[in-house]
Amino acid sequence: MLETFLQVVVNGLMLGGLFAIISIGLTTIFGIIKVVNFAHGEFLMAGMFLTWLFTTKLGLHPYAAVVVVAPVLFVLGGLTQKLLIQPLMNARDEHIQIFATVGLSTAMINLALLIYGADIANTPAYGLRTPLEFGPIRVLEGQLFILGAAILLVIGMELFLRRSRTGLAIRAVAQNRTAAQLMGINVNWIYVLSFGLGAACVGIASVLVAPLYPTSSNIGTYFVLIAFVVVILGGWGSIPGAFVGAMVIGLIDSLSGFYIGADLREAVVFGVFLVILILRPSGLFGTKQKLSHIS
Protein backbone atom coordinates (compact mmCIF):
# COMPACT_ATOMS: atom_id res chain seq x y z
CA MET A 1 0.00 0.00 0.00
CA LEU A 2 2.63 2.49 1.15
CA GLU A 3 4.91 1.33 -1.62
CA THR A 4 2.22 1.92 -4.19
CA PHE A 5 1.52 5.34 -2.74
CA LEU A 6 5.22 6.21 -2.85
CA GLN A 7 5.45 5.02 -6.43
CA VAL A 8 2.45 7.17 -7.40
CA VAL A 9 3.99 10.21 -5.68
CA VAL A 10 7.33 9.62 -7.40
CA ASN A 11 5.53 9.31 -10.72
CA GLY A 12 3.87 12.64 -9.95
CA LEU A 13 7.19 14.31 -9.20
CA MET A 14 8.67 12.95 -12.43
CA LEU A 15 5.69 14.22 -14.35
CA GLY A 16 6.12 17.54 -12.53
CA GLY A 17 9.72 17.67 -13.74
CA LEU A 18 8.53 17.22 -17.30
CA PHE A 19 5.88 19.92 -16.92
CA ALA A 20 8.42 22.25 -15.36
CA ILE A 21 11.03 21.84 -18.07
CA ILE A 22 8.53 22.59 -20.83
CA SER A 23 7.14 25.67 -19.00
CA ILE A 24 10.23 27.65 -17.97
CA GLY A 25 10.71 29.26 -21.38
CA LEU A 26 7.05 30.30 -21.62
CA THR A 27 6.99 32.04 -18.26
CA THR A 28 10.40 33.66 -18.86
CA ILE A 29 9.27 35.27 -22.11
CA PHE A 30 6.02 36.48 -20.60
CA GLY A 31 7.64 37.78 -17.42
CA ILE A 32 9.99 40.03 -19.35
CA ILE A 33 8.28 40.93 -22.61
CA LYS A 34 4.64 40.51 -21.47
CA VAL A 35 3.96 38.58 -24.65
CA VAL A 36 2.21 35.24 -24.51
CA ASN A 37 4.01 33.02 -26.98
CA PHE A 38 1.31 30.82 -28.46
CA ALA A 39 3.95 29.21 -30.66
CA HIS A 40 5.65 27.86 -27.52
CA GLY A 41 4.59 24.28 -28.23
CA GLU A 42 5.86 24.53 -31.79
CA PHE A 43 9.24 25.76 -30.57
CA LEU A 44 9.34 22.53 -28.54
CA MET A 45 8.29 20.55 -31.62
CA ALA A 46 11.05 22.17 -33.70
CA GLY A 47 13.59 21.42 -30.98
CA MET A 48 12.47 17.80 -30.77
CA PHE A 49 12.73 17.34 -34.55
CA LEU A 50 16.19 18.86 -34.46
CA THR A 51 17.16 16.47 -31.67
CA TRP A 52 15.84 13.54 -33.67
CA LEU A 53 17.73 14.70 -36.76
CA PHE A 54 20.95 15.20 -34.81
CA THR A 55 20.70 11.82 -33.08
CA THR A 56 19.78 9.74 -36.12
CA LYS A 57 22.10 11.43 -38.64
CA LEU A 58 25.16 11.78 -36.44
CA GLY A 59 24.57 8.78 -34.20
CA LEU A 60 25.16 10.77 -31.04
CA HIS A 61 23.41 10.79 -27.68
CA PRO A 62 20.29 13.02 -27.77
CA TYR A 63 21.53 15.10 -24.83
CA ALA A 64 24.58 16.04 -26.90
CA ALA A 65 22.16 17.71 -29.33
CA VAL A 66 21.76 20.51 -26.81
CA VAL A 67 24.89 22.20 -28.17
CA VAL A 68 23.05 22.65 -31.46
CA VAL A 69 19.38 22.79 -30.44
CA ALA A 70 19.65 25.42 -27.67
CA PRO A 71 21.57 27.93 -29.86
CA VAL A 72 19.27 27.31 -32.85
CA LEU A 73 16.20 27.90 -30.68
CA PHE A 74 17.87 30.99 -29.17
CA VAL A 75 18.22 32.42 -32.68
CA LEU A 76 14.69 31.36 -33.62
CA GLY A 77 13.32 33.11 -30.52
CA GLY A 78 15.41 36.22 -31.08
CA LEU A 79 14.23 36.43 -34.68
CA THR A 80 10.61 35.96 -33.61
CA GLN A 81 10.93 38.98 -31.34
CA LYS A 82 12.88 41.06 -33.84
CA LEU A 83 10.84 40.33 -36.96
CA LEU A 84 7.37 39.50 -35.62
CA ILE A 85 6.73 40.94 -32.15
CA GLN A 86 8.81 44.12 -32.24
CA PRO A 87 7.08 45.65 -35.26
CA LEU A 88 3.79 45.08 -33.41
CA MET A 89 4.91 46.35 -30.01
CA ASN A 90 3.60 49.82 -30.59
CA ALA A 91 0.42 48.62 -32.25
CA ARG A 92 -2.67 50.24 -30.84
CA ASP A 93 -4.13 46.90 -29.88
CA GLU A 94 -1.79 44.61 -27.96
CA HIS A 95 -3.91 41.61 -28.89
CA ILE A 96 -2.35 41.79 -32.35
CA GLN A 97 0.71 40.12 -30.80
CA ILE A 98 -1.43 37.18 -29.77
CA PHE A 99 -2.66 36.71 -33.31
CA ALA A 100 0.92 36.95 -34.55
CA THR A 101 2.17 34.12 -32.33
CA VAL A 102 -0.93 32.02 -33.06
CA GLY A 103 -0.17 32.53 -36.74
CA LEU A 104 3.44 31.51 -36.18
CA SER A 105 2.25 28.38 -34.40
CA THR A 106 0.03 27.36 -37.33
CA ALA A 107 2.76 28.16 -39.83
CA MET A 108 5.30 26.03 -37.95
CA ILE A 109 2.93 23.06 -37.70
CA ASN A 110 2.29 23.21 -41.43
CA LEU A 111 5.94 23.67 -42.21
CA ALA A 112 6.69 20.52 -40.20
CA LEU A 113 3.95 18.67 -42.10
CA LEU A 114 5.42 19.89 -45.37
CA ILE A 115 8.98 18.88 -44.54
CA TYR A 116 8.45 15.69 -42.56
CA GLY A 117 4.83 14.72 -43.10
CA ALA A 118 2.38 13.44 -40.55
CA ASP A 119 4.52 10.51 -39.40
CA ILE A 120 6.11 10.02 -36.03
CA ALA A 121 9.84 10.41 -35.55
CA ASN A 122 11.33 8.27 -32.79
CA THR A 123 14.50 9.60 -31.25
CA PRO A 124 16.84 6.78 -30.15
CA ALA A 125 16.57 6.47 -26.37
CA TYR A 126 20.14 5.45 -25.51
CA GLY A 127 18.88 3.69 -22.43
CA LEU A 128 16.95 6.68 -21.15
CA ARG A 129 13.72 4.68 -21.21
CA THR A 130 15.26 2.01 -18.98
CA PRO A 131 13.67 1.80 -15.54
CA LEU A 132 15.96 2.31 -12.58
CA GLU A 133 14.99 0.58 -9.35
CA PHE A 134 15.41 2.20 -5.94
CA GLY A 135 14.12 -0.51 -3.65
CA PRO A 136 10.48 -0.85 -4.62
CA ILE A 137 10.36 2.41 -6.56
CA ARG A 138 10.92 2.49 -10.30
CA VAL A 139 11.66 5.53 -12.43
CA LEU A 140 12.92 5.95 -15.96
CA GLU A 141 16.47 7.21 -16.23
CA GLY A 142 15.35 9.94 -18.64
CA GLN A 143 12.71 11.15 -16.17
CA LEU A 144 15.30 11.61 -13.45
CA PHE A 145 17.45 13.64 -15.81
CA ILE A 146 14.46 15.80 -16.70
CA LEU A 147 13.68 16.54 -13.05
CA GLY A 148 17.34 17.29 -12.32
CA ALA A 149 17.64 19.53 -15.36
CA ALA A 150 14.43 21.39 -14.45
CA ILE A 151 15.78 22.13 -10.96
CA LEU A 152 19.13 23.28 -12.34
CA LEU A 153 17.49 25.42 -15.01
CA VAL A 154 15.22 27.17 -12.48
CA ILE A 155 18.20 27.89 -10.21
CA GLY A 156 20.40 28.91 -13.13
CA MET A 157 17.84 31.31 -14.58
CA GLU A 158 17.12 32.88 -11.18
CA LEU A 159 20.84 33.35 -10.50
CA PHE A 160 21.36 34.85 -13.94
CA LEU A 161 18.45 37.26 -13.50
CA ARG A 162 19.33 38.24 -9.94
CA ARG A 163 23.12 38.27 -9.93
CA SER A 164 24.38 39.23 -13.38
CA ARG A 165 24.51 42.71 -14.84
CA THR A 166 22.53 41.61 -17.90
CA GLY A 167 20.00 40.00 -15.57
CA LEU A 168 19.64 43.28 -13.70
CA ALA A 169 19.02 45.07 -17.01
CA ILE A 170 16.45 42.43 -17.98
CA ARG A 171 14.58 42.86 -14.68
CA ALA A 172 14.72 46.62 -15.12
CA VAL A 173 13.10 46.37 -18.55
CA ALA A 174 10.48 43.97 -17.17
CA GLN A 175 9.56 46.36 -14.35
CA ASN A 176 9.64 49.70 -16.15
CA ARG A 177 10.56 49.83 -19.78
CA THR A 178 10.59 53.65 -20.02
CA ALA A 179 12.87 54.01 -17.02
CA ALA A 180 15.15 51.26 -18.33
CA GLN A 181 15.58 53.23 -21.53
CA LEU A 182 16.48 56.30 -19.45
CA MET A 183 19.27 54.25 -17.84
CA GLY A 184 20.80 53.74 -21.28
CA ILE A 185 19.55 50.18 -21.64
CA ASN A 186 18.78 49.15 -25.21
CA VAL A 187 15.26 47.90 -24.54
CA ASN A 188 14.70 46.32 -27.94
CA TRP A 189 17.92 44.34 -27.64
CA ILE A 190 16.93 43.14 -24.16
CA TYR A 191 13.63 41.93 -25.64
CA VAL A 192 15.41 40.06 -28.43
CA LEU A 193 17.83 38.57 -25.91
CA SER A 194 15.03 37.55 -23.54
CA PHE A 195 12.91 35.91 -26.22
CA GLY A 196 16.02 34.08 -27.35
CA LEU A 197 16.77 33.02 -23.79
CA GLY A 198 13.23 31.73 -23.24
CA ALA A 199 13.38 29.83 -26.53
CA ALA A 200 16.78 28.37 -25.60
CA CYS A 201 15.12 27.00 -22.44
CA VAL A 202 12.63 25.28 -24.75
CA GLY A 203 15.63 23.94 -26.67
CA ILE A 204 17.03 22.39 -23.49
CA ALA A 205 13.59 20.91 -22.79
CA SER A 206 13.48 19.46 -26.33
CA VAL A 207 16.58 17.29 -26.03
CA LEU A 208 15.33 15.94 -22.70
CA VAL A 209 11.80 15.20 -23.90
CA ALA A 210 12.63 13.82 -27.35
CA PRO A 211 14.09 10.48 -26.21
CA LEU A 212 10.97 9.77 -24.11
CA TYR A 213 8.14 10.98 -26.34
CA PRO A 214 7.59 10.40 -30.05
CA THR A 215 8.06 13.55 -32.10
CA SER A 216 5.41 14.64 -34.57
CA SER A 217 4.16 17.86 -36.11
CA ASN A 218 1.39 18.15 -33.49
CA ILE A 219 3.45 17.26 -30.40
CA GLY A 220 3.50 20.96 -29.51
CA THR A 221 -0.26 21.15 -29.11
CA TYR A 222 -0.07 18.04 -26.90
CA PHE A 223 2.30 19.72 -24.44
CA VAL A 224 1.38 23.38 -24.70
CA LEU A 225 -1.92 23.25 -22.83
CA ILE A 226 -0.31 21.80 -19.72
CA ALA A 227 2.50 24.39 -20.00
CA PHE A 228 -0.10 27.14 -19.95
CA VAL A 229 -1.83 25.60 -16.94
CA VAL A 230 1.48 25.33 -15.09
CA VAL A 231 2.49 28.90 -15.88
CA ILE A 232 -0.90 30.36 -14.92
CA LEU A 233 -0.94 28.35 -11.71
CA GLY A 234 2.59 29.41 -10.77
CA GLY A 235 1.89 33.05 -11.58
CA TRP A 236 2.72 34.48 -15.01
CA GLY A 237 6.37 35.40 -15.25
CA SER A 238 7.54 33.60 -12.11
CA ILE A 239 10.13 30.91 -12.87
CA PRO A 240 10.11 29.31 -9.39
CA GLY A 241 6.32 29.61 -9.55
CA ALA A 242 6.26 27.57 -12.75
CA PHE A 243 8.34 24.89 -11.04
CA VAL A 244 6.01 24.67 -8.05
CA GLY A 245 2.97 24.81 -10.34
CA ALA A 246 4.41 21.95 -12.37
CA MET A 247 4.94 19.83 -9.25
CA VAL A 248 1.40 20.51 -8.04
CA ILE A 249 -0.12 19.56 -11.41
CA GLY A 250 2.17 16.53 -11.73
CA LEU A 251 1.18 15.21 -8.31
CA ILE A 252 -2.54 15.83 -8.82
CA ASP A 253 -2.35 14.17 -12.22
CA SER A 254 -0.60 11.10 -10.86
CA LEU A 255 -2.60 10.72 -7.63
CA SER A 256 -5.99 11.27 -9.24
CA GLY A 257 -5.10 9.02 -12.13
CA PHE A 258 -4.34 6.18 -9.75
CA TYR A 259 -6.82 6.69 -6.92
CA ILE A 260 -9.79 8.21 -8.73
CA GLY A 261 -9.49 6.80 -12.19
CA ALA A 262 -7.33 7.28 -15.24
CA ASP A 263 -10.19 8.64 -17.31
CA LEU A 264 -11.01 11.31 -14.69
CA ARG A 265 -7.39 12.44 -14.40
CA GLU A 266 -7.76 15.53 -16.61
CA ALA A 267 -11.10 16.49 -15.08
CA VAL A 268 -9.51 16.51 -11.62
CA VAL A 269 -6.42 18.41 -12.79
CA PHE A 270 -8.48 21.15 -14.40
CA GLY A 271 -11.00 21.18 -11.56
CA VAL A 272 -8.27 21.82 -8.99
CA PHE A 273 -6.67 24.32 -11.34
CA LEU A 274 -9.91 26.29 -11.55
CA VAL A 275 -10.45 26.22 -7.79
CA ILE A 276 -6.91 27.54 -7.14
CA LEU A 277 -7.42 30.26 -9.71
CA ILE A 278 -10.69 31.34 -8.12
CA LEU A 279 -8.95 31.54 -4.73
CA ARG A 280 -5.74 33.12 -6.05
CA PRO A 281 -6.41 34.76 -9.41
CA SER A 282 -2.80 35.83 -9.93
CA GLY A 283 -1.45 32.32 -9.34
CA LEU A 284 0.55 30.83 -6.50
CA PHE A 285 3.60 33.09 -6.88
CA GLY A 286 2.09 35.81 -9.01
CA THR A 287 1.92 39.45 -8.16
CA LYS A 288 -0.50 41.78 -9.82
CA GLN A 289 1.23 42.94 -12.98
CA LYS A 290 2.33 46.46 -12.28
CA LEU A 291 3.38 47.40 -15.75
CA SER A 292 5.22 50.67 -15.62
CA HIS A 293 3.93 53.04 -13.05
CA ILE A 294 4.99 53.98 -9.59
CA SER A 295 4.25 57.08 -7.63
Binding site: A179, Q181, L182, G184, T287, S292, I294
Partner: protein, 234 residues
Protein backbone atom coordinates in the same frame (compact mmCIF):
# COMPACT_ATOMS: atom_id res chain seq x y z
CA UNK B 1 27.19 72.26 -24.90
CA UNK B 2 23.61 71.62 -26.02
CA UNK B 3 21.96 73.44 -28.90
CA UNK B 4 18.45 73.03 -30.27
CA UNK B 5 17.98 74.54 -33.73
CA UNK B 6 14.46 75.19 -35.02
CA UNK B 7 12.96 72.05 -33.52
CA UNK B 8 9.49 70.97 -34.59
CA UNK B 9 8.24 67.90 -32.77
CA UNK B 10 5.10 66.21 -31.50
CA UNK B 11 3.21 62.97 -31.29
CA UNK B 12 1.74 61.42 -34.42
CA UNK B 13 -0.02 64.12 -36.42
CA UNK B 14 -0.01 66.59 -33.53
CA UNK B 15 2.82 69.09 -33.60
CA UNK B 16 3.60 70.43 -30.14
CA UNK B 17 6.90 72.24 -30.55
CA UNK B 18 7.08 74.99 -33.17
CA UNK B 19 10.52 76.21 -34.12
CA UNK B 20 12.11 75.87 -30.70
CA UNK B 21 15.73 76.98 -30.47
CA UNK B 22 17.71 77.11 -27.27
CA UNK B 23 21.16 76.46 -25.93
CA UNK B 24 22.78 75.38 -22.71
CA UNK B 25 26.41 76.21 -21.90
CA UNK B 26 28.63 73.89 -19.85
CA UNK B 27 28.26 74.50 -16.13
CA UNK B 28 24.99 76.43 -16.42
CA UNK B 29 21.67 75.80 -14.75
CA UNK B 30 19.09 76.55 -17.43
CA UNK B 31 15.37 76.25 -16.94
CA UNK B 32 12.43 75.96 -19.27
CA UNK B 33 9.30 77.25 -17.56
CA UNK B 34 5.77 77.41 -18.82
CA UNK B 35 2.22 76.29 -18.24
CA UNK B 36 0.98 72.74 -18.36
CA UNK B 37 0.89 71.61 -22.01
CA UNK B 38 3.29 74.28 -23.26
CA UNK B 39 5.66 71.59 -24.56
CA UNK B 40 8.26 71.48 -21.80
CA UNK B 41 8.34 67.71 -21.41
CA UNK B 42 8.18 67.27 -25.18
CA UNK B 43 11.33 69.37 -25.47
CA UNK B 44 13.17 67.12 -23.01
CA UNK B 45 11.88 63.99 -24.71
CA UNK B 46 13.16 65.23 -28.05
CA UNK B 47 16.61 65.85 -26.55
CA UNK B 48 16.55 62.44 -24.85
CA UNK B 49 15.81 60.68 -28.14
CA UNK B 50 12.44 59.41 -26.99
CA UNK B 51 10.64 61.20 -29.79
CA UNK B 52 12.14 62.21 -33.13
CA UNK B 53 11.77 65.85 -34.21
CA UNK B 54 10.03 66.30 -37.55
CA UNK B 55 12.49 69.03 -38.43
CA UNK B 56 15.40 70.90 -36.90
CA UNK B 57 18.60 69.72 -35.30
CA UNK B 58 19.89 68.95 -31.83
CA UNK B 59 23.63 69.21 -31.18
CA UNK B 60 25.45 67.98 -28.11
CA UNK B 61 29.10 68.99 -27.79
CA UNK B 62 29.22 69.64 -31.50
CA UNK B 63 27.68 66.31 -32.48
CA UNK B 64 24.31 66.04 -34.23
CA UNK B 65 22.22 63.80 -31.95
CA UNK B 66 18.83 64.48 -33.58
CA UNK B 67 18.40 60.91 -34.81
CA UNK B 68 20.15 58.97 -32.05
CA UNK B 69 18.27 56.22 -30.20
CA UNK B 70 17.38 57.00 -26.59
CA UNK B 71 19.95 54.61 -25.10
CA UNK B 72 22.70 56.07 -27.29
CA UNK B 73 21.86 59.58 -26.06
CA UNK B 74 22.29 58.33 -22.50
CA UNK B 75 25.64 56.83 -23.46
CA UNK B 76 26.84 60.27 -24.58
CA UNK B 77 26.18 61.59 -21.07
CA UNK B 78 22.70 63.09 -21.23
CA UNK B 79 20.56 61.79 -18.39
CA UNK B 80 16.92 62.64 -17.78
CA UNK B 81 15.24 62.39 -14.40
CA UNK B 82 11.69 61.78 -15.53
CA UNK B 83 8.46 63.19 -14.27
CA UNK B 84 6.80 60.89 -11.74
CA UNK B 85 10.13 59.36 -10.67
CA UNK B 86 9.79 56.16 -12.72
CA UNK B 87 11.75 54.00 -10.28
CA UNK B 88 11.97 50.23 -10.58
CA UNK B 89 9.32 49.43 -7.98
CA UNK B 90 10.21 45.84 -7.07
CA UNK B 91 13.91 46.47 -6.73
CA UNK B 92 15.92 47.73 -3.81
CA UNK B 93 17.13 51.31 -3.73
CA UNK B 94 20.64 49.89 -4.23
CA UNK B 95 19.66 48.09 -7.46
CA UNK B 96 17.91 51.23 -8.68
CA UNK B 97 21.10 53.22 -8.11
CA UNK B 98 23.26 50.57 -9.76
CA UNK B 99 21.03 50.70 -12.83
CA UNK B 100 21.68 54.43 -12.91
CA UNK B 101 25.32 53.62 -13.56
CA UNK B 102 24.46 51.33 -16.49
CA UNK B 103 25.86 53.55 -19.25
CA UNK B 104 29.36 52.65 -20.41
CA UNK B 105 30.97 55.86 -19.13
CA UNK B 106 29.70 55.33 -15.58
CA UNK B 107 30.05 51.59 -15.07
CA UNK B 108 33.75 51.39 -14.26
CA UNK B 109 33.55 54.07 -11.55
CA UNK B 110 30.15 53.13 -10.10
CA UNK B 111 31.42 52.43 -6.58
CA UNK B 112 33.17 55.79 -6.29
CA UNK B 113 30.10 57.52 -7.72
CA UNK B 114 27.88 55.71 -5.24
CA UNK B 115 29.95 56.97 -2.29
CA UNK B 116 29.79 60.48 -3.69
CA UNK B 117 26.04 60.36 -4.34
CA UNK B 118 25.21 58.89 -0.94
CA UNK B 119 27.20 61.68 0.62
CA UNK B 120 24.86 64.13 -1.12
CA UNK B 121 21.76 62.15 -0.11
CA UNK B 122 22.18 60.88 3.44
CA UNK B 123 18.46 59.99 3.54
CA UNK B 124 18.89 57.65 0.57
CA UNK B 125 21.78 55.82 2.21
CA UNK B 126 19.46 54.84 5.07
CA UNK B 127 17.07 53.18 2.64
CA UNK B 128 19.49 51.18 0.48
CA UNK B 129 17.98 47.75 1.08
CA UNK B 130 14.33 48.79 0.97
CA UNK B 131 12.13 48.23 -2.06
CA UNK B 132 11.71 51.43 -4.06
CA UNK B 133 7.92 51.08 -3.95
CA UNK B 134 7.96 51.25 -0.13
CA UNK B 135 9.40 54.78 -0.05
CA UNK B 136 7.44 58.01 0.32
CA UNK B 137 7.02 60.32 -2.67
CA UNK B 138 9.74 62.68 -1.50
CA UNK B 139 12.15 59.83 -0.85
CA UNK B 140 11.38 58.38 -4.26
CA UNK B 141 12.22 61.72 -5.86
CA UNK B 142 15.55 61.78 -4.00
CA UNK B 143 16.31 58.25 -5.23
CA UNK B 144 15.37 59.28 -8.77
CA UNK B 145 17.81 62.20 -8.62
CA UNK B 146 20.50 60.05 -7.02
CA UNK B 147 19.94 57.43 -9.73
CA UNK B 148 20.33 60.10 -12.39
CA UNK B 149 23.61 61.23 -10.84
CA UNK B 150 24.90 57.66 -10.82
CA UNK B 151 25.18 58.00 -14.61
CA UNK B 152 27.85 60.69 -14.11
CA UNK B 153 26.00 62.77 -16.69
CA UNK B 154 27.55 65.74 -18.46
CA UNK B 155 24.06 67.15 -18.83
CA UNK B 156 21.38 66.35 -16.26
CA UNK B 157 17.79 67.08 -17.23
CA UNK B 158 15.01 67.31 -14.64
CA UNK B 159 11.40 66.93 -15.74
CA UNK B 160 9.06 68.57 -13.20
CA UNK B 161 10.98 67.46 -10.11
CA UNK B 162 8.51 69.18 -7.77
CA UNK B 163 5.36 67.67 -9.26
CA UNK B 164 3.08 66.05 -6.69
CA UNK B 165 5.33 66.80 -3.74
CA UNK B 166 4.49 68.70 -0.56
CA UNK B 167 5.92 72.25 -0.40
CA UNK B 168 8.49 71.34 2.22
CA UNK B 169 9.73 68.45 0.07
CA UNK B 170 9.82 70.74 -2.97
CA UNK B 171 12.21 72.98 -1.05
CA UNK B 172 14.43 69.99 -0.29
CA UNK B 173 14.38 68.93 -3.93
CA UNK B 174 15.54 72.35 -5.06
CA UNK B 175 18.26 72.34 -2.39
CA UNK B 176 19.47 69.13 -3.98
CA UNK B 177 19.33 70.64 -7.46
CA UNK B 178 21.52 73.47 -6.21
CA UNK B 179 23.97 70.95 -4.74
CA UNK B 180 24.04 69.09 -8.03
CA UNK B 181 24.73 72.31 -9.92
CA UNK B 182 27.38 73.33 -7.39
CA UNK B 183 29.16 70.04 -8.05
CA UNK B 184 29.84 71.35 -11.55
CA UNK B 185 27.13 69.51 -13.49
CA UNK B 186 25.26 71.20 -16.30
CA UNK B 187 21.55 71.23 -15.55
CA UNK B 188 18.46 71.71 -17.70
CA UNK B 189 15.33 71.83 -15.60
CA UNK B 190 11.71 71.95 -16.70
CA UNK B 191 9.14 73.23 -14.22
CA UNK B 192 5.71 74.68 -13.67
CA UNK B 193 6.90 75.98 -10.33
CA UNK B 194 8.24 79.12 -11.99
CA UNK B 195 9.33 81.20 -9.00
CA UNK B 196 11.38 78.59 -7.15
CA UNK B 197 12.95 77.33 -10.35
CA UNK B 198 14.05 80.75 -11.58
CA UNK B 199 15.55 81.39 -8.17
CA UNK B 200 17.83 78.37 -8.57
CA UNK B 201 18.72 78.90 -12.25
CA UNK B 202 21.21 81.00 -14.21
CA UNK B 203 19.08 81.47 -17.31
CA UNK B 204 15.56 80.67 -18.36
CA UNK B 205 13.34 80.14 -21.37
CA UNK B 206 9.61 80.73 -21.23
CA UNK B 207 7.72 78.25 -23.40
CA UNK B 208 4.20 79.20 -24.48
CA UNK B 209 2.09 77.04 -26.82
CA UNK B 210 5.16 75.22 -28.07
CA UNK B 211 7.14 78.36 -28.87
CA UNK B 212 9.89 80.18 -27.01
CA UNK B 213 8.18 83.37 -25.86
CA UNK B 214 11.03 84.83 -23.83
CA UNK B 215 14.60 84.03 -22.91
CA UNK B 216 16.82 85.88 -20.50
CA UNK B 217 18.84 85.55 -17.33
CA UNK B 218 16.82 84.11 -14.47
CA UNK B 219 17.15 87.36 -12.58
CA UNK B 220 15.77 89.41 -15.47
CA UNK B 221 12.89 86.97 -15.97
CA UNK B 222 11.94 87.24 -12.31
CA UNK B 223 11.47 90.99 -12.74
CA UNK B 224 9.93 90.77 -16.24
CA UNK B 225 6.39 92.17 -16.33
CA UNK B 226 4.94 89.44 -18.51
CA UNK B 227 6.46 86.69 -16.38
CA UNK B 228 5.31 88.34 -13.18
CA UNK B 229 1.74 88.69 -14.45
CA UNK B 230 1.37 85.36 -16.19
CA UNK B 231 3.36 83.02 -13.91
CA UNK B 232 4.04 84.66 -10.60
CA UNK B 233 0.63 86.21 -10.07
CA UNK B 234 2.15 89.52 -9.05
Amino acid sequence: MLTLENIHAGYGATTILHDVSLDVQAGEVVTIVGANGAGKTTTLRAIAGQIRPTSGHIYFEGRDITKLAAHDVVDLGITMIPEGRQLFPDMTVRDNLMLGAFRSGARSVQNETLDYVLDLFPRVSERMDQMASSLSGGEQQMVAIARGMMAKPRLLMFDEPSLGLAPIIVEQVFEVVKKVAASGATVLIVEQNVFTTLQSADRGYVLENGEIALSDTAEALLSNDHVRRAYLGI
